[in-house]
Symmetry: C2
Subunit: 232 residues, 2 copies
């Protein structure tokens, strides 16, 4: 499906680009809808495009040698993935799957790379984004260091809450990942995630609101549990 420059400018990475540049990129972009559980980016192949998430939620997953899934990161709307293709020609190290029905924009790699190299301000932006990705991975890895598993779950939930919402006392997560998907992010079993959620729900800290919406009732308590100041 055709993509307009306006649509491209909805993404934080591309927003600062001049109109003219976006018009040049638009013909190399295509809009694709993915059903839940579909593979969006394949591991092991050299991708010739970068994936921008417009709506839904994506998850990067790796695999251990013995076949277990490993959760690497979540992608929120407005963000992107597969950006390593911009920097080298090695194959993508991980799969990216849709954890909720998703609308994504694929942007051909080479035109974007051109833009990036010709304009130092663009390569600045892309570089900053990649640096942010490293920080995000570091943060995620730090979660795994927590010995108390309920703490990990609370920490993960906290990471899933968008920055703007963190100031207030309650929030929500749209299209939350399943227990299984959280489990592979935190290196724990699906059942253990369920039990953690049970504890959180019985204390009225979180509440499910139908599928596709998780309400954080008491954000302060969630934060305290994530910090280990209090135990579930």
């Amino acid at each position: 499906m055709q993509v307009t420059p306006e649509l491209l400018s909805r993404f934080t990475l591309l927003k600062p680009l001049p109109r003219q540049v976006l018009e040049g990129l638009a013909p190399h972009a295509s809009l694709v809808r993915h059903a839940r559980r579909e593979v969006v980016v394949r591991a092991g192949v050299r991708e010739d495009r970068v994936c921008f998430l417009f709506e839904g939620r994506l998850q990067g997953v790796g695999h251990t040698i013995d076949g277990r899934e490993v959760g690497l990161y979540f992608v929120e709307p407005g963000d992107f993935c597969g950006e390593l293709a911009l920097f080298d020609d090695s194959p993508q190290p991980e799969f990216v799957i849709a954890t909720a029905a998703a609308t994504v924009v694929f942007l051909a790699r080479n035109p974007l790379r051109e833009v990036m190299l010709n304009s130092s301000s663009v390569s600045n932006i892309v570089g900053r984004k990649l640096a942010e990705r490293v920080r995000q991975m570091t943060e995620q890895r730090t979660l795994l260091g927590l010995s108390n598993i309920d703490q990990r779950v609370c920490g993960q939930l906290y990471l899933l809450i968008k920055g703007e919402q963190r100031q207030v006392e309650s929030g929500e997560i749209v299209n939350p990942p399943t227990h299984q998907e959280i489990a592979i992010m935190l290196n724990i079993s699906r059942e253990r995630v369920t039990r953690a959620f049970q504890a959180l729900q019985s204390r009225r800290i979180v509440r499910r609101d139908g599928p596709g919406r998780l309400v954080i009732i008491d954000l302060n308590s969630l934060r305290r549990f994530a910090r280990g100041e209090e135990e579930l």
Copy 2:
């Protein structure tokens, strides 16, 4: 201590740079020796320099909210760290400490950034390196997905063996990390690492050769254990 352009060209990142550029960078570089356990890069401060490791071994470590250490990555001689400063102005997310007496070269951030922005070939190289760092972190994270802990230790040891050595049947790791340092990389206890090493040593797969040298006697077996084809 003064740094010569020749010294700079010993690093894989800087090697491809034209002599002239290296001469421009050299005045902004300084050579520093760090004793074992010393902090090389501090977390939470905006670093104005990038750190290249000449000799020894470094380890990036984060901290959970409750103070536990989290091992993030190892840095081998010829490689570098603190490179996020090249891309943004946010503070360094992690500490970097010397796990063995180390000689490092600090290179001021801004001159290097200039070089990077002015030459697209240089920003290519830096970008590729950062992409490689992401791959490395992914690989490291995947290790944590292994449910069998001996497998994790073997996998970590395998990662510590330099690429060139992986082809042959035996290898060595100079300045190996302590059990404690491996433990925080793999999210396990120090004692558990010791027990894994006991098993490997009694099977004549690895052998300590004084401090600062770990000999891998049977690399093939190590690989098989890392893959879970056989259990300790």
